[in-house]
Amino acid sequence: MNVADSAPAMNNLIGSDADSQRTLYPYVTGTSVVGIKYKDGILLAADMGDYLACHDSGSYGSTLRYKTVERMKSVGKHSIIGASGEISDFQEIMRYLDELILYDNMWDDGNSFGPKEVHNYLTRVMYNRRNKFNPLWNSLVLGGVKNGQKYLGTVNMIGVHYEDNHVATGFGNHLSRPILRDEWHENLTFEEGVKLLEKCMRVLLYRDRSAVNKLQIAKITEEGVTISQPYSLKTFWNFAAFQNPTVGAEGSW
């Protein structure tokens, strides 16, 4: 009724008790996901490395802890999702999505959720959690094909969402999207699409310190979903500047 009455209630919300219930920082994280539309559907690429966050409140770096985590999964018959950020939150999202698809299938009426519906549902979930100050700490790429229509979108932990012909999360936005803006075009074949994605992932491998050289490509077409076996990219490190890196700056390392 009065301000005096509500003050103690307010304190509980901001107090340390409540903090233990919400995500304050991510703990096991994956890095960029890159996605493109191509002639027959959608291609997604993501590496398989997950880093454990630093062990104390100061900054000590992180550890490459998990090297076989699949960050891309299929959702129903028509969609695939790729996630970067906190992996446990991604697992939670997968539980929501699996339940969504289950209830959709239970209607058994010839209607099914396409990638657009799944993307919008996810947007609602992410935005709602953000409004409660308890976000799912992820950036997601959602793509699929339904009735010949290709769809590719992204949504992140604060609920920002959009669709485009090519999308990326995290560092991918800064390093890969410029490449895609120059080199993406409608009617890429599968081989061309994979080559383009590999080019993007290679740049990320060189420049993103949390990238690892073990990646998967996921493909979705009207026929269905395929997620490739993990493989590595060829890299080149014999640049002259790397041979004697301190030659111009004695004392550095």
Binding site: G110, G114, E117, N120
Partner: protein, 275 residues
């Protein structure tokens, strides 16, 4: 015989396994003025008779837009009909908000609720989804059925007889012919009264066409068209040409005059409701 003992409460079964309150609610549908629905592969047409209670008053709205791709025509207690329309609109909006996509009509019709009494209104729901155009009838018992064409309300038997003759042609019918068939069926329920645009309402929806109610001019023009032609049913195969009003057989004709007091027992029979 024991009808009156077990009919006070919607939660009481009769010894014969019937819920009389629900059956009574279904009677209320038969008292309402007629509503008709037909569908083709791509379109659904809803039509209803609009009887104003007196010359001074306007008529009640009986066809409602639930979403761009779903419309409903009601017969019975229009107040209950409005409550249900509002609920359905809400469901559609919530679905659209979450999924940015239209609610498939088949998922809308199986959401009925039970309050203190059954709703005394029958709903003809026309809508589109992935698999094309659909027409459903939702009755107070909570059951719903899908139809190619159907009619509810008073003197609907006359319309149903017409529809039964013609329904096989509806699947591939054009939009225009579907509307004309609806007007024909509607005219059957008027039993001699002249069909004009002021005593009926027509609404159409289809693939690529959002739900809309036809304006009076268009309806009058369509009525004039088939009256001029000599009251033959539009294009299509066989069928005895539809003669002028009054020659239509059917038990409803026996009920003569204008009032809505037909004897439901004679018309539909006091059959247990289909489960």
């Amino acid at each position: 015989m024991f009808r009156n003992q077990y009919d006070t409460d919607v939660t009481t079964w009769s010894p014969a396994g019937r819920l009389f309150q629900v059956e009574y609610a279904m009677e209320a549908v038969k008292q309402g003025s007629a509503a008709i629905g037909l569908r083709s592969k791509t379109h659904v047409v809803l039509a209803c008779v609009n009887k104003a209670s007196s010359e001074l008053s306007s008529h009640q709205k009986k066809i409602f837009k639930v979403d761009d791709h779903i419309g409903v025509a009601i017969a019975g207690l229009t107040a209950d009909g409005r409550v249900l329309s509002r609920y359905m609109r809400n469901e559609c909006i919530n679905y659209s908000y979450t999924y940015e996509s239209p609610l498939p009509v088949g998922r809308l019709v199986c959401t009925q609720r039970s309050w203190k009494r059954p709703y005394g209104v029958g709903l003809l729901i026309g809508g589109l989804d992935e698999s094309g155009a659909h027409l459903y009838y939702n009755c107070p018992s909570g059951n719903y059925f899908e139809y190619q064409a159907f009619a509810i309300g008073s003197r609907s038997q006359a319309a149903k007889t017409y529809l039964e003759r013609k329904f096989e042609t509806f699947v591939d019918s054009s939009r225009e012919n579907l509307i004309k068939d609806a007007l024909f069926a509607l005219r059957e329920t008027l039993q001699g009264e002249k069909l004009t645009s002021s005593n009926c309402t027509i609404a159409v929806l289809g693939i690529g066409e959002a739900f809309s109610t036809l304006d009076q001019e268009t309806v009058q023009r369509l009525i004039n068209e088939f009256e001029v032609v000599g009251e033959d049913p539009p294009a299509e195969a066989a069928a005895a040409p539809d003669q002028s009003d009054g020659a239509e057989p059917g038990p409803a004709a026996a009920a003569a005059d204008d009032d809505d007091q037909e004897t439901p027992a004679a018309d539909q029979g006091a059959a247990p409701m289909d489960i």
